[in-house]
Amino acid sequence: MINKNIIPAIDKSIKILEDKFNLKNPFENTPKSVQSHS
């Protein structure tokens, strides 16, 4: 079961990293079916 706070927490962390360290999501324009999973 996934805690409802987990995905928003990841989203916020990603946003902070994008804003503060000028990073871009490398998967943004990649079709979801070929994105990698850990």
């Binding site: 079961m1 996934i2 805690n3 706070n5 987990i6 995905i7 927490a9 990841i10 989203d11 916020k12 962390s13 990603i14 902070i16 990293l17 994008e18 503060k20 360290f21 990073l23 999501n25 490398p26 998967f27 979801k32 994105q35 990698s36 999973h37 850990s38």
Partner: protein, 148 residues
Amino acid sequence: MYIFYIPHRPERPHIVYKDDIPVFYKRTNTGCELMSYNEIKIEFQRYEERREKIKLLFIELVSAKNTLEDVKQIHEETPIKAYSPITLELNTLNSLLTDLYTIIGRETELIQLLLSLRLHITIFNNTTMMFLNRISHQINYNTNELHG
């Protein structure tokens, strides 16, 4: 007598212009001194290394989000209470949190989010492991019933 503590900036080395000539300074016990070529080179290499680790943390987070969204979608499409056989990788996040603390330590919100995330991922992984153990016990039990 005054005592000052000037912390290292994670974005070092810093360039300044002296008579239109770019130079790098370092702070020492006696004030500021010009850095040597090798010192500048080492600081740039360290900066690049820290930057690469931040990129790795970013990719880890994006990847974890994609995995969780897939799992969430499967849960939503399944009418009964469903468990996922997937666990999320935590070692990289743990190691990056330690390595990057000097850079991201000033971002209090980010640190809080990452620590909370680590806790939630641990709970998610433990729930999955409990589910997998239960299946394994059930399979063993059924096999013993068949042959016993």
